[in-house]
């Protein structure tokens, strides 16, 4: 009797686990089916490395969008990661438990704010501020990076807190017993031990940043050219798909699916590189 019910549960769970993989495969197959013929027709070189995007007259070059996507993603990471990790270090190593009780729920709440709200604040407050202080159109790579930095902050911070807390207390005690100050103990022992977790948080944050669409459309300005500086307007891969999907037909539509393929590949490369880095560090530690 026991064995039967065990088996049923086991098989049901297996089926559920398979649906995730199944969904991924179906989505990938669909995007490739729609976009791949286009890639062959236009030529991957033309598509990837031309800077001329005028779908109305048959020019499909997404190089500026690839570059813009990387700009805003790494810009967001450059803002979100230091803040998130520093905040996590304070909360888990130095701050009083009461700080954790206040800050942790606040971060979780921040994670729940819809991206359109971030975008709205970006448009109403951040972009005019950048325009006034630094010049340019305001709707810019910088605005997108700041908005993304705040958006990925909760992800990075909460994963960093978890990984710092999972470092055994004996490590800290050992370091302190050897005469290290608290900061030395954190810097030389705790951070080293927690590094894979911190990196994992950054990878997840990066994934969220590169995939974010709504907030980026609202604050990046979406101009179809190579951004010359952080104050220039730019269009990311996701924004390109979302902006034009509603209208696109024929070749144009296929071009947007091909943009999806590129996004897919970029994300796989970034995730792969980060995972490899993680694994190498793990191996080196042993």
């Amino acid at each position: 009797m026991r064995a039967t019910s065990d088996k049923v549960v086991e098989r049901a769970l297996l089926a559920v686990a398979c649906t995730a993989v199944f969904c991924l495969l179906v989505i990938a197959a669909f995007i490739f089916k729609e976009g791949f013929p286009f890639l062959l027709k236009v030529g991957p070189g033309n598509f990837l490395f031309s800077s001329d995007w005028r779908p109305d007259s048959g020019h499909y070059g997404i190089f500026p969008m690839i570059v813009s996507s990387l700009w805003v993603t790494f810009g967001g990471l450059a803002i979100g990661a230091p803040l998130g990790i520093a905040g996590a270090i304070f909360l888990s190593e130095f701050g009083p438990p009461s700080a954790m009780r206040v800050v942790k729920p606040a971060i979780e709440l921040l994670a729940g704010i819809p991206s359109v709200v971030f975008g709205f604040i970006g448009v109403m407050v951040l972009a005019p501020f950048i325009r006034r202080v630094a010049g340019g159109p305001g709707l810019s790579v910088l605005a997108a990076a700041i908005v993304l930095g705040v958006m990925i902050l909760p992800t990075i911070m909460s994963i960093s807190i978890d990984s710092l807390r999972s470092v055994p207390q004996s490590y800290r005690e050992g370091a302190l017993a050897l005469g290290a100050t608290r900061w030395q103990a954190v810097r030389m022992v705790v951070l080293k031990a927690a590094r894979p977790g911190l990196l994992a948080g950054m990878i997840l944050g990066m994934g969220r940043a590169i995939g974010e669409t709504m907030a980026v459309i609202m604050v990046a300005g979406n101009a179809v050219k190579m951004p010359a500086s952080a104050l220039d307007s730019a269009r990311t891969l996701t924004a390109n798909i979302a902006l034009e999907m509603g209208y696109a037909t024929g070749m144009h539509r296929q071009a947007l699916f091909a943009t999806g393929i590129v996004l897919f590949v970029v994300i796989m490369i970034l995730n792969g590189a980060a995972t490899a880095a993680l694994r190498r560090r793990g191996a080196a530690k042993r």
Binding site: L14, A15, V123, G138, G221, N222, D232
Partner: protein, 275 residues
């Protein structure tokens, strides 16, 4: 794809799960087909708010009326009307594309496209040719118009937008400057211009408010009188499109929109009547 499940993966379980999934999908689709005879409209985001109001009025005065309105853009309106996803497509283009020739067009209203700048901008009047040069990217600084030494932040719409295609067609087809900021609706263009003293944009006439300033084009202000007199040139028709002659509820709704109360409602909300 190779997985290493902790237990052997029975094929039957996977098959059963897929079957269950298929059943769930079939049920979900079955329930959505069960609604009564209704009219779905889709298309132009510029006309969408007016269409929603007209649909509300029509539904309120016609007990059997069940008109629902969706956006999507003019291109979506045309393709939805062709493939039957919507009984009525909405489009706001100066020229309907060739594939719309199978549809029956009804001009239900006209809409001016106002060229707008920030209220603090002292420019009051620009010729069409200069506006075109600004959008091409040939003129990039306000001082060329006697304004301050500040860059012109050009704001346009995404390619495929009916407002954009009408704007570009009337100005004489051109390739938009690649530096142009792209916003994906009339409302966000308005917000962008309202927030940027150096911006220039264009929005549907009905959406002009005190946060932005509409300038004169070729000396003609964007007003109801001048548009009706044919003096203000940035005007586009708004079409309702049906596949073949409209019948039943779709016909009833189009007749209502073209009738006196529909036209009065369109006029009251800032659009221009069809005739």
């Amino acid at each position: 794809m190779r997985m290493n499940p902790p237990f052997p993966a029975p094929r039957r379980a996977i098959r059963a799960a897929l079957l269950a999934l298929a059943c769930a999908l079939a049920l979900a689709c079955g329930s959505c087909a069960g609604r009564g005879a209704s009219v779905t409209m889709a298309g132009s985001t510029a006309f969408q708010p007016f269409a929603e109001k007209l649909a509300d009025e029509y539904n309120a005065s016609h007990p059997e009326g069940n008109v629902t309105v969706q956006g999507g853009g003019s291109a979506v309106g045309i393709s939805a009307a062709i493939n039957g996803a919507a009984q009525i497509g909405m489009a706001d283009l100066v020229e309907l594309p060739p594939d719309a020739s199978v549809l029956t067009p009804f001009v239900v209203a006209r809409d001016g496209i106002a060229v707008v700048v920030h209220p603090s901008n002292r420019i009051k009047d620009l010729p069409m040719a200069r506006i075109r040069e600004v959008y091409i990217g040939a003129i990039r600084n306000w001082k060329e118009f006697g304004g301050p030494d500040a860059p012109i932040n050009v704001v346009s719409r995404e390619s495929g937008s009916g407002t954009r295609s009408s704007f570009e067609t009337i100005l004489g087809r051109f390739d938009l400057s690649t530096s142009a900021i792209i916003q994906d609706s009339n409302g966000t263009v308005r917000e962008t211009v309202a927030n940027d003293a150096n911006a220039i944009g264009y929005v549907s006439y009905g959406l002009v408010n005190e946060k932005i300033k509409a300038i004169r084009v070729d000396g003609q202000a964007c007003t109801t009188e001048l548009i009706l007199a044919g003096k203000y040139v940035l005007v586009r028709p708004i079409y309702l499109l049906t596949l073949g002659e409209p019948t039943g509820a779709a016909k009833g709704f189009i007749d209502y929109v073209l009738g006196p109360s529909g036209q009065a409602s369109i006029k009251a909300d800032g659009l221009l009547p069809a005739k």
